[in-house]
């Protein structure tokens, strides 16, 4: 249909709204990677020996690994020697202790992104650990959290203040040799967030971090570690946008979650990095390793992600269900528009008895976007009475995009039960006509249907994120019809 192509053409032309570059002096290490760079990063951060040794070991392993090629994505090879592995705002030496001390230009950047930090924090009661490039520059609500005994700080600070906790848990969920990108991250990670919730504590507020990539040619290697001790509960939110850039920027983050007995971690992400222009030029390469370890009995880890950005998304937030009766959940909306490529999904590894997992994946493809769901459900011989339910739906807008599903199911335990449902649909002309006959514009009708398609995932986001996510969907798919 003619209208379809026109609408899709409009959709494809939609400009990224958060494209700008903040003019802040960067303290940047020259491009290239060898042992000396790693020693330099570690020295600049004043790290203890165990961490330097760990980084060096990771680097050694990384050199033996090859970049994975199995994902359903295409990109020009990354030259790892052309990337600068450390970048921090100049004022890093005396990092600000409150928002008043933060570089006003930086605050302006957040304003442009529609993130009025203190406003937001005050209104929503959210502690915000804002990460700008590699160093955390603003942390709020520390007082209230420390009253509850919750540690929420930058990774560097955790290394300084709580080295024993870091040493105990770092790399225990995503081991050094896990994969090419995580090994690279382990060698060169600059900063990130650290959360520890002590025994029996219910974290009094949602924890949130804004990541932002800013410096040209600087790969960003975030490291996040969340530990929920016995009987504790924490909800962590992460959201991000990035400025307009022509060259591809590599992002290889690692997130590790550990839930001990009866603990629960809810980890939510809204990812809106620069996806490249309509011809696929520029955009972030997002190669992320996220994994949660349900180490204790009755523990629960829940991932919710809304992935609308990045040129390439390679991301499989997973759960290792080690503890008996532990629960893993994965709720995902992934959008691939224009020339975006998304290969995302999850792994649910059932080890303990009576472990349960739920996977709800909603993929939306538009323009020439390629969206792949890749999921593994594995029942180990010890996983008596394990259960999994997977629902994997794809929605196509237009006729030049693709949706692909790669489910891997391995059951080595006969008492287990695995259910897998998958659908692929287009927004039908009938649906659009029906809505329009009731008075809705075509655009509003598409938004309504897309949001309806994503509802089961959005429901799992904390309230303020749910609204943000819906707006984000409306913006990314404005005018799209199928």
């Amino acid at each position: 249909m003619a209208t379809e192509s026109r609408q899709i053409a409009d959709l494809v032309k939609q400009k990224y709204q958060h494209g700008f570059i903040t003019d802040i002096e960067q303290d940047t290490v020259p491009p290239g990677l060898d042992e000396s760079v790693i020693r330099l990063i570690s020295a600049k951060k004043g790290e203890p020996k165990f961490l330097l040794d760990w980084r060096l070991k990771a680097f050694e392993l990384w050199q033996t690994l090859t970049e994975p090629a199995w994902a359903h994505v295409n990109y020009t090879p990354i030259d790892y020697q052309s990337i600068s592995y450390f970048s921090a705002p100049k004022s890093q030496a005396d990092a600000p202790k409150s928002l008043d001390e933060v570089d006003p230009k930086l605050l302006e950047t957040y304003d442009k992104l529609g993130i009025p930090l203190h406003e937001r924090a005050r209104l929503a009661g959210v502690a915000v650990d804002a990460v700008f490039d590699s160093v955390s520059v603003a942390t709020t609500f520390k007082g209230k959290l420390s009253e509850a005994g919750v540690i929420f700080c930058s990774f560097s600070e955790a290394v300084r203040e709580h080295p024993a906790l870091v040493e105990q848990y770092l790399g225990t969920v995503v081991p050094l040799r896990d994969n090419f990108f995580s090994a690279l991250n382990s060698a060169v990670f600059s900063d990130g967030s650290f959360v520890y919730v002590p025994k029996g504590v219910r974290c009094p507020m949602e924890l949130s971090t804004y990541f932002r990539i800013n410096a040209a040619n600087t790969g960003q290697f975030e490291r996040t570690l969340v530990i929920a001790d016995e009987g504790s509960h924490v909800s962590y939110l992460e959201g991000c946008t990035a400025p307009m850039r022509d060259e591809n920027q590599l992002h290889a983050a690692v997130v590790e979650l550990v839930a001990l007995d009866d603990a629960e971690i809810k980890y939510s992400t809204v990812q809106n990095w620069y996806p490249g222009d309509e011809n696929g030029v520029g955009g972030i390469y997002n190669f992320v390793t996220k994994r949660g370890d349900c180490r204790g009995t009755n523990s629960k880890i829940s991932w919710t992600q809304v992935e609308t950005g990045s040129a390439i998304t390679w991301k499989y937030p997973s759960c290792v269900l080690r503890g008996d009766n532990s629960v893993g959940e994965f709720y995902s909306v992934a959008v691939a528009n224009n020339c975006q490529q998304a290969d995302t999904g999850t792994k649910m590894i059932h080890i303990g008895k009576n472990t349960r997992s739920t996977i709800i994946s909603k993929g939306i493809s538009a323009g020439r976007g390629q969206n792949a769901y890749r999921g593994l459900v594995r029942f180990m011989p010890t996983a008596k009475n394990a259960r999994n339910y997977t629902q994997c739906d794809s929605l196509l807008l237009g006729d030049q995009c693709g949706a692909h599903t790669f489910p891997y199911i391995e059951s080595r335990e006969p008492s287990g039960r695995i259910e897998h449902e998958a659908t692929t649909s287009k927004i039908s002309d009938d649906q659009l006509f029906y809505c329009r006959q009731r008075g809705l514009s075509e655009e509003d009708a598409v938004n309504m249907i897309v949001n309806g398609f994503c509802r089961r995932v959005f429901q799992n986001l904390p309230m303020e994120f749910a609204v943000e996510a819906q707006n984000l969907m409306n913006v990314s798919l404005e005018g799209a019809i199928g």
Binding site: F433, Y434, Q437, R438, G439, D444, I449, G452
Partner: protein
């Protein structure tokens, strides 16, 4: 002034001519029943009025409240007060019934320069209408038409109509697939909306609907045009004698 004036309307679907010179005038407050054998063009007329994309008007004119209807997009027609109750209401998985209803009401209010209603006001508006249609509140929170029975779908259509209060309602075989009790509920809903300023076109196969919703005029559509018009008694005659005598009559002319 007539609400709707259709003159010498020719329309094609997928290149095939279905309407072949149809004339129809609907005045304020009037209820017109359009009957006719299968394939005569009844549903095509309904779709053409609502502005469905693949239904093309090739000649003739449709004027709605004095203005050219053919040039308007479906949503513009809806906002101007034209409502189509679908023969096969469409399912929209994941979209809350309330959400669609409220979005539709507010889109139409906005186009008229009225303020949008909030959730509270909306619930106040919809409550009585749900009672008329014998619809429970749980029904509002289900996905649009998904998993609804045939009767529920039709009742939902009429509920939407009651909420949107159109000036011209076109009901496309709203009676089909309904049992007697459901038919009564639907008819009660439609009758509650009868008003000297509001007009209706009932597309139907069966006389039994017209027992419950009394039309002012009855037309027989055959071969893409109106071949006979009359009053209520024509419907009874059709019920008794079928359509053949009329189509033969028309063919003979």
């Amino acid at each position: 002034m007539n609400i709707l004036e259709i003159e010498k309307l020719h329309a094609t679907v997928g290149g095939k001519e279905i309407l072949k010179g149809l004339d129809l005038c609907v005045g304020p407050g009037e209820v017109h029943a359009i009957m006719g054998p299968n394939g005569s063009g009844k549903s095509t007329l309904a779709q053409v009025l609502a502005g469905r994309d693949d239904y093309e008007v090739t000649s003739g004119s449709i004027r709605f409240k004095g203005a050219d209807l053919v040039e308007l997009a479906p949503e513009e027609r809806a906002c101007a007060g034209l409502f189509l109750a679908f023969q096969y209401p469409i399912e929209i998985p994941g979209v809350n019934n309330t959400y669609l209803l409220k979005a539709a009401l507010n889109a139409q209010r906005k186009s008229r320069g009225e303020t949008e209603v909030d959730a509270f006001e909306f619930m106040r508006l919809i409550k009585d209408k749900m009672k008329v249609m014998q619809i429970s509140e749980e029904f509002l929170h289900r996905s649009v038409n998904e998993g609804f029975s045939g009767g529920e779908k039709k009742r939902n259509e009429v509920l939407q109509m009651l909420l949107l209060e159109p000036q011209l309602a076109v009901l496309d075989e709203t009676d089909s697939g309904l049992d007697v009790d459901a038919l009564k509920v639907v008819a009660a809903g439609v009758n509650s909306l009868r008003d000297p300023k509001r007009s209706m076109i009932l597309v139907t196969h069966y006389e039994r609907l017209l027992e419950l919703i009394e039309p002012d005029f009855v037309h027989v559509l055959a071969g893409g045009k109106i071949v006979k018009s009359g009053d209520r008694s024509l419907a009874r005659e059709l019920d008794a004698r079928g359509y053949d005598w009329i189509t033969q009559q028309a063919a003979a002319v």
